[in-house]
Symmetry: C2
């Protein structure tokens, strides 16, 4: 049976990565999509595991073939989500998880309308601010800017299909697993 494709997003600082790590521990029929990038591998990074490391020429070729679900440039390097491995894994029967920035989600949902969107919210703005502040000790105006961005991202919640509050990692992960199981 064909698997489903999920786009999982949330504002910066909501704890997506930690929640998803737990989701993958709880459910073993999942496949995390791997991004392609033109940046060089860092020590320990493995091609096809952390990223598909590709040349700029190859990246542009995939763009030309309309082979990315979404892509963007960040500090001089390009990052994209290749469509083919996502479809392949879904065809194999895995439920495929795309962890994508809120902005990129709109592109993905346009190109892949069958994908289901799960949006992770913080329990409160205060909790989100604490998380953004807790990461590093950065100036107040930097934190303020990040919080403003996060609030704009929160406003995109209505483009998603499912809503999960990350009050505790365990609760949020269980809710996501329940959503995934309910669609099998």
């Amino acid at each position: 049976m064909k698997g489903n494709i999920y786009v999982i997003a949330g504002p910066s600082g909501v704890g997506k990565g930690t929640v998803l790590k737990r989701v993958f521990q709880l459910d073993d029929n999942l496949s995390l999509s791997i991004s392609a990038t033109t940046r060089s591998p860092r020590v320990g990074e493995i091609d096809g595991v952390n990223y598909y490391f590709v040349t700029r020429e190859r990246f542009d070729q995939i763009v030309a073939e309309d082979g990315f679900l979404e892509y963007a440039e960040y500090v001089g390097n390009r990052y994209g989500t290749p469509l083919k491995p996502v479809l392949d894994k879904a065809a194999e029967g895995f439920d495929v998880i795309l962890e994508i920035e809120v902005q990129g989600c709109m592109q993905v949902m346009d190109k892949l309308p069958e994908a289901k969107g799960i949006f992770i919210l913080p329990p409160s703005i205060e909790a989100l601010e604490k998380r953004l502040r807790g990461r590093e000790s950065e100036p107040d105006d930097v934190i303020r800017k990040r919080l403003d961005t996060a609030k704009i991202e929160l406003g995109h919640v209505n483009k998603f299909d499912y809503f999960v509050v990350n009050d505790t990692i365990e609760n949020a992960a269980n809710q996501i697993v329940n959503i995934i199981k309910s669609n099998r």
Copy 2:
């Protein structure tokens, strides 16, 4: 000690009323704000309990005195949330709950910046649609329109302070009670 003021909102069909009913059963230090209206009382409705029933002249006078947190006209009648009883109840030590339409919340938060906003989300768009559909058997285009409105309302989530998903009434009510208790 002075009580806090909460604005509780969510998209139409999210089940606000049912959740709040349970919240009031779980916590006895709460006061629900009462709206004023120019419409006539229906059988069984009591002045000062269901609504403050006022004449149009009296309503206009409160408007002129800037005495409403928010007000609107609906099918020829006016409805508003009077500020004074809210402040009085808070001064007595009650936490005051304002159940207000999403649009009205912006007005309230402007006038009463110390009010805390709690936004109730559905677990999914599908669940919301089911609820909107379940109420009455209405034509598809009416349901579609309501769902579109509800989605627009969802987009206002980022103006609120707390986020609660109404997956079950009990969970949602408990989370709201926890938020209220954490601020006491």
